[in-house]
């Protein structure tokens, strides 16, 4: 095994990891804010990929240009999810909350299969195509751009949460809902914003991935699982933790696949998850 192949695996893993990180950040933001796990996160990713696909197939808008529309649609989807479902289960028992978002995931996937059939689709001849060769490492252009956009979105999210007034209010609501409410910060509005941003993240990731990934109704399942692992690994509610965790997962996946056996890629990732749960249940950057 040559060093080039290992380098190739590292680059591939890094690029994938940045996408995992952004997807996980959306999940983590929603969880941190209202202690609700969005089990439909993968389905929301699927929706964002389909949004990108249909905008291309019906209106001929290339995925790279339809990104803002996809983000907007997903943010809207987040607000709708909050107002028509989450709002009613905020005070419910945990099992009810789990069933609600899990049910939502099945609902969305089934509707998608009904409307669009379970066929695999892809965006034919997108603007982003081809690959670069840097020091004998091949880098797919769409993958590279996708990971850069996801990293930029991640940094944007981090700055938004830590530097802006609304971000501060989001953090306050996450840390103590009632204390924030009493100071004049309406939690319901903050929750809606959290859902909009959380799914907006997924919109960026899904929109960028539609350039090079097959688009089908079950596409979100593995990504959602990886997002859960990333959130647990990074620490529940920690956004910066998602970045490190996403990169670790990406690297473990590609290096494990290269060094051991590619057919057990999922195994390595979940082995990491188990190790974290056993030895550091609060995750790398967790507070709980």
């Amino acid at each position: 095994m040559t060093s080039e192949i290992i380098l190739q695996a590292i680059v591939t893993g890094l690029m994938m990891g940045l996408i995992y990180a952004l997807i996980a950040a959306g999940l983590s933001l929603i969880f941190g804010l209202m202690d609700i796990v969005n089990f439909a996160h993968g389905e929301h990713l699927m929706l964002s990929m389909f949004s990108s696909f249909w905008l291309w197939s019906l209106f001929g808008i290339d995925p790279i240009f339809s990104i803002p529309i996809t983000i907007l649609l997903m943010a809207l989807c987040g607000i709708v999810t909050h107002y028509f479902l989450i709002r009613y289960i905020l005070k419910a028992k945990m099992l009810i909350q789990i069933c609600a978002t899990f049910g939502l995931s099945i609902f969305i996937r089934s509707i998608a299969q009904l409307l669009w059939t379970p066929d695999f689709r892809n965006v034919d001849k997108p603007l982003l195509e081809g690959r670069l060769e840097v020091a004998s490492v091949f880098i797919g252009q769409p993958q590279l751009i996708a990971s850069i956009v996801c990293l930029a979105a991640f940094i944007g999210l981090y700055l938004f949460v830590t530097r802006t007034e609304t971000g501060l209010a989001l953090q306050a609501t996450a840390q103590d809902r009632h204390a924030a409410e009493i100071l004049g910060i309406p939690s319901n509005k903050m929750f809606a914003i959290g859902w909009a941003i959380g799914l907006g993240c997924v919109g960026v990731a899904g929109g960028m991935m539609s350039n090079y990934f097959f688009i089908f109704t079950d596409v979100g399942i593995n990504f959602a699982l990886f997002a859960f692992v990333a959130v647990a690994l990074g620490g529940f509610g920690s956004i910066i933790g998602c970045l490190y965790a996403g990169i670790i997962i990406g690297l473990v996946e590609s290096l494990g696949g290269l060094l051991i056996d590619p057919s057990f890629k999922l195994l390595y990732v979940f082995a990491i998850y188990l190790l974290v749960v056993i030895y550091r249940p609060q995750g790398l950057f967790g507070r709980y």
């Binding site: 501060l168 840390q175 009632h178 924030a180 409410e181 100071l183 004049g184 910060i185």
Partner: protein, 235 residues
Amino acid sequence: MMLDIKNIDVLYDDFQVIWDVSLNVNNSEMVALLGPNGSGKSTVLNTVSNLVEHKKGEIFFDKELISNIPTYHRTSIGISHVLERRRVFPHLTVKQNLLLGAWHPKAKESLDKSLSKIYKIFPKLESRSSQLAHTMSGGEQQMLAIARGLMGLPKLLMVDEPFLGLSPMVVKDLISIFKSIVSEGISILFVEQNVRLALSMADRGYVLESGRLVVSGSSKDLIDSDKVKKVFLGS
């Protein structure tokens, strides 16, 4: 009359915890709400903030009915509530906590002015402004919680158990801070279990027992009252 609570009943599901309680607070007055553990003192404050709904009765503030105004509008009409056990945002800095206290537009406008004023009253908060709130001592956190409440430019400051777990030194500081707040024209309604301490600083007091108002009056009258002794010491 600034705050006027008229005959409220409060129920948690089917369990009634407040029975026909009436209470009022005048302009620049310090009022103590007294009572043993579980007598419903905090519930009264939480009802005023609409964290808990009341089934019967009305609450007026500045002669306006506020019974159904949502919790997050309370600061903009002039009610700040410092919750039991401080409830500062643990993973935000002291300064961020204070900024969040000035959320409604009017408070935001005079943010710099309030901040420098707060730092004058609580000099420790200025030197600790970039420290995370959860790394401070209980007394400092209590100061921060009260300062955060003041950032909303309240006419009425409600404080739940301000002296809980504080050292005698800090208690002394806090009493003088309360007095200076009232002297600036802000009313204070506070909940306390220590009758002697509370009545030594408040103008008037109300005593609750098992969710019912037992006795009320000026601090001078209450401190010698047999009824108060009975509530706190048993018959």
